[in-house]
């Protein structure tokens, strides 16, 4: 993968809540054992609440929201997934306590993923 990619990052600085589209590096992604090249995420009501102010669902900043996404596995440390697998991610508090899908790449726990059939 290319080392730099685009993501929407929310951050809290004092009283200010910031939303920015930034270019970040892979090392910024900190959770999970499967790296996914994201195709699509969606906008759900919960995402809107999180984009407004974190909605007390996000515990740590800076954060990448996006509670669901689809895409293709590019690296996997899990036996359950291999490069090229197409996946769907919904739920498990991804986009809340884990980084989510508003990013060109996402790292996620293999136990959360469903393979597209």
């Amino acid at each position: 993968m290319s080392d730099n990619f685009k993501a929407l990052i929310v951050n809290q600085e004092g009283e200010k809540f910031l939303r920015e589209i930034k270019t970040i590096e892979k090392s910024f992604l900190k959770h999970g054992d499967v790296l996914v090249k994201v195709d699509y995420s969606t906008l759900n009501f919960k995402d809107a609440l999180i984009l407004k102010n974190g909605a007390r669902l996000v515990k740590e900043f800076p954060h990448i929201p996006g509670i669901d996404f689809s895409g293709t596995v590019v690296e996997s440390k899990s036996e359950k997934f291999k490069e090229g697998d197409e996946i769907i991610q919904t739920g498990w508090r991804v986009g809340e306590i884990y980084f989510g899908g508003y990013s060109q790449f996402a790292k996620v726990n293999s136990n959360f993923l469903v393979k597209k059939t």
Binding site: D39, T42, L43, L51, K52, D68, T90, S103
Partner: protein
């Protein structure tokens, strides 16, 4: 990703309202159902799925979206505002079941309007997190209020539901109502959603 979290939630709601009573509880057939927040992400897919399952769907909406909701399969359209008032403990029995995405007074009124043994699948709080009801619908009509959470559903159940969804959703129809937006546009659309000004499903193309 046309379905995503909204699809996962809508199918759980639809199965709860219909199959749970018909199959699991060996109950009466579920014909007349109401979906609130009908033009929202979850609501619109629930209207589509329940219609496909053969139900006679009433869609409650705040918007002049009649044509769109009928295209998804809804038979009757009502104004959410008519239900957004203090609920009577029991009201005229109108529905065999319901999917509620908005909470608050609207959910309280739905509970009072559900006929005996109906199941109300509640997944949302788009109008309010509050619920001011009485025990009457539960003890007089055996109405069931069934909470839906799409966050912690086992992988086994998810795989089953994704499988079912593909049989119950008309993707060509769904695609027509989908808006594809970029991360930049997302920063504008999210606040419209919180004001209740969006409808249908928004997918985010992160590579756009």
């Amino acid at each position: 990703m046309m379905l995503g979290t909204a699809g996962m939630t809508a199918i759980q709601c639809a199965f709860t309202t219909k199959q749970t009573r018909e199959v699991l509880l060996l109950g009466e057939k579920v014909n007349d159902v109401i979906v609130t927040g009908a033009s929202g992400g979850v609501g619109s897919i629930a209207v589509m799925i329940l219609s496909k399952m053969g139900c006679n769907v009433t869609a409650a909406t705040t918007k002049p979206n009649e044509e769109y909701l009928k295209s998804l399969g809804a038979k009757t359209i009502i104004k959410s505002g008519d239900l957004d008032k203090e609920a009577r403990p029991l009201d005229k029995g109108l529905y065999d079941g319901a999917v509620d995405t908005v909470g608050g007074n609207i959910l309280a009124n739905i509970l009072s309007h559900v006929k005996p043994n109906g199941i109300v699948a509640a997944c949302g709080n788009a109008s309010s997190i509050k619920l001011n009801t009485t025990v009457m619908p539960f003890i007089i009509r055996g109405v069931k209020l069934w909470g839906i959470d799409s966050v912690s559903v086992s992988i086994k159940r998810r795989e089953f539901l994704w499988d079912e969804v593909s049989k119950l959703v008309d993707f060509d129809l769904l695609e027509k109502s989908i808006k594809e937006i970029s991360l930049e546009q997302l920063l504008v659309e999210y606040s419209k959603m919180l004001e209740g000004k969006t409808s249908g499903r928004y997918i985010v193309n992160v590579n756009k």
